[in-house]
Structure formats: structure tokens, C-alpha cells
Amino acid sequence: MTSAEWDYARSSAGEGPRYVTGWGNSAVEIHRVGTIPVPVTMRLEVADHPPIVIDFARRTYSATLPFDRYPIHPGSVAITAEAVAPGSPAPFPGIGVQLDGLLWAVGITAFEGSAAPWLRPSDRYRLSRWPNFTELPHTMDYIRMTALLGAGFLSLPELCAGASVSVGQAQRILNALSLMGGLQVVGGVEEPTMVLRQDAADQPRGLFGRLRARLGL
């Protein structure tokens, strides 16, 4: 990387805290900073709560409180992001925990079933890596939607139809997976070569549905 590129990356990480309202705006900052191609650390501070510190290079974070103990609608989140030299030590003691856990929680809740602003209605999505679901709170609908996204490029309405879920549910998982960097996104109106069958959702007698009922999941 040239020094000009480094300076650019550094300045786009931002200096001094930015103050934003709610997890939605925080998610926008996390998403923006997460795409900067140099190691960045980020600190999110909600009044009267311990800070959340992210190490994007190692994809880990540290927080002494679980995410669900933070306010659902924080009035003000102070966000500081800083580009650091490659190989810098982690910005917190210990090894931290997997960043996916935080990004999943933020992505699922932040926009309350509306689209994250970095996604467009004409986009199609395909899974680029499976989330480690044994480590993430999930429902069977999320597993089914993820499997569908792993099989082909889908738009939001196609995902809803294929998995028999509401727009809000489908949008939540798209927000979360894209925040985690787990989705390939293609814009435009061109249809993919593989498409959902018309009768795709008519699978109440499918093995997934039957096992789910049997196991009470």
C-alpha cells in the first residue's frame, strides 16, 4: 500500500468520536468501516454501559456485557474508529470473541425488519460463507433461508416465497449476513440462470418440515 492510500484509509476510518442514534446508525458505521482495507479498531460507547471494542483485522471483539443487555434504542452511541499498523496488538486484553456474534445480533435487530441502507431493492443475494450457527442464536427459518441463499441468487421477494417467511424476517437475515460480509450482492434486473421453482414453497411434507415438527423446533 502506498502512503497516499494509507492516508486515505486512515482518514476514512475517522478521527474523534462520531455520535449516532440507535443501532441502525451504528450498523451503518460498522458496515462502512468494515470495508476499509487496512486494520481498523473501533470503539462503541453507550452511556452507562461498558464499551464494545472491535478488532476488524482479527474479526474479534470484546465487551463485558452481552449485546441483549444494552438498550434496544440507545439515544447516543459514541463511535471512534482508528486505522492501526498491520500486526498491531489487539485493542483489548485477551483474545476477544468472534465478531460474527456481535454483527449477527446487530444486523438482526438494528433495522427492525426494514432494509439496511446499503442494500437496494433491485439487489440479488447469494451466500458466500455459512455462519457458524451453533454459536449464533437462530431459528429454523434462518437455517432454511440461509440454505436457499446458498443454492442460488435470490431477490428479497424470492427469498420470502421460497422460505415461506415474512418480508421482515427475510430482510433481517439479509441485513445481518451482509453486515457480516457473508453475502455476494449483485445489483440490476438481470435474472440469474437458476431460478426458484414456481411450487418451491409447497413443501409442508418435505423432510425439513416433518423433522422440524417432530423435534419441536
Binding site: 458466500s128 440454505a147 421453482r197 416433518r210
Partner: protein, 193 residues
């Protein structure tokens, strides 16, 4: 009567018997014998032929869970079961010698199932060996099979809910593949060409 055969395979000591016992609704048929290879896996017994368990769907249908000991996977019986299988759970213990190499090797041997989307990977014993990570496995598999995204989870086979997540992921993956068809071009596009 539909047949739903799911295989569990992986190296010695990966947790196959434990996993099937957690999922099965019947007493698991086990074929344990004294372990003469304590240097490979330090435990008293090992599966010599197979494990068998079931989840009953209704009076007609059941999901059959078969555990294949790693050293038996080339036997003729397994060749037959492989053809009948809908999917496979590959368990690899993270404290094995070269666990990523073992995962790649097993996937190559079950390439047909893998190509159909019928494989999930469970990395076990991460409480004993925390690395390599899921990302490390995914990176190695992407080199071997760049066009496939295989679910890779960390699991403790002693935890029933985790094994159910793994099994449901496998079934979801198999079923959703069949929900896609090749798109038929619209008339205007044909004219345009």
C-alpha cells in the same frame, strides 16, 4: 415408504457414536470393541462395524442414522450405503493430526454427496483444541472446491441442540437444491438473440 439415510463419518474419536446417541430416539445399535490404537485416539473402546440410530417421522417413515468408522469407509457395505444416502455429517476433531487435511480427504472420498449439497462439517473438541478456526477450514476447502459453500460449524456432539442444528442444516441444504430450476428464457430474449 421414503428412505432417509444420513451417514456420519470422520476420523477415529471425532464423536460419531456420541452424535448419533444424542439424535436417536431408539437405543443406538453400537459395535464397540476394545481400542487397540490408543495412540490414535486415547479412549477405551472404538466402533468396529457401525452405529445405527433412528428418528421416527410417522408409522411409515424414519430417518436412519448410520455411523461409519473412518477405517471402514471403503468396505463394500459402505459403498452401498453411500449410494442410498441423502446426506452426510462429517465430524473432525480439532485435536486430530492435521484436522483440515483430514476434512479435505474425506470430502474427496464423498465427492458425489458433496456435489449434491449433501454434506455438513462439524468441528468437534474445540474445548480441547480451539484452533484451527472455522475460517481456516473454509479457506482450505475453498482452494479444493471453489464453487461450493459447505456449512462448517463448531459442535460438541454431547450437546443435543447443536447436533440438531447440524442435522437440520443438512436437510435444509439437500431440500433447497431441488427447489431451483434452470430459467427458461422469455420469448423477447430469444428474438433478441
Amino acid at each position: 415408504m421414503a428412505e432417509h439415510v444420513i451417514l456420519f463419518t470422520g476420523p477415529m474419536g471425532a464423536g460419531k457414536t456420541t452424535a448419533i446417541e444424542k439424535l436417536s430416539e431408539i437405543d443406538v445399535v453400537r459395535t464397540e470393541a476394545a481400542n487397540t490404537e490408543r495412540q490414535v485416539a486415547d479412549k477405551a473402546t472404538t466402533t468396529v462395524a457401525l452405529d445405527y440410530g433412528e428418528i421416527v417421522l410417522d408409522d411409515q417413515d424414519k430417518v436412519r442414522l448410520y455411523g461409519i468408522p473412518g477405517q471402514r469407509r471403503f468396505d463394500f457395505m459402505w459403498t452401498i450405503l453411500k449410494e442410498r444416502a441423502k446426506g452426510m455429517v462429517l465430524l473432525v476433531h480439532n485435536d486430530a493430526d492435521d484436522p483440515i487435511g483430514r476434512a479435505v480427504e474425506y470430502l474427496d472420498e464423498f465427492a458425489d454427496l458433496y456435489a449434491k449439497g449433501g454434506v455438513v462439517i462439524g468441528i468437534t473438541r474445540i474445548d480441547i483444541a480451539p484452533g484451527p478456526s472455522v475460517t481456516d477450514y473454509a479457506a482450505a476447502l475453498a482452494v479444493a472446491h471453489p464453487d461450493k459453500i459447505v456449512p462448517i460449524y463448531t459442535v460438541d456432539p454431547r450437546q443435543r441442540d447443536q447436533m440438531r442444528t447440524l442435522l437440520m442444516t443438512l436437510v435444509a441444504n439437500i431440500e433447497t437444491r431441488d427447489m431451483f430450476v434452470e430459467r427458461v428464457p422469455q420469448r423477447e430474449e430469444l428474438v433478441a438473440e
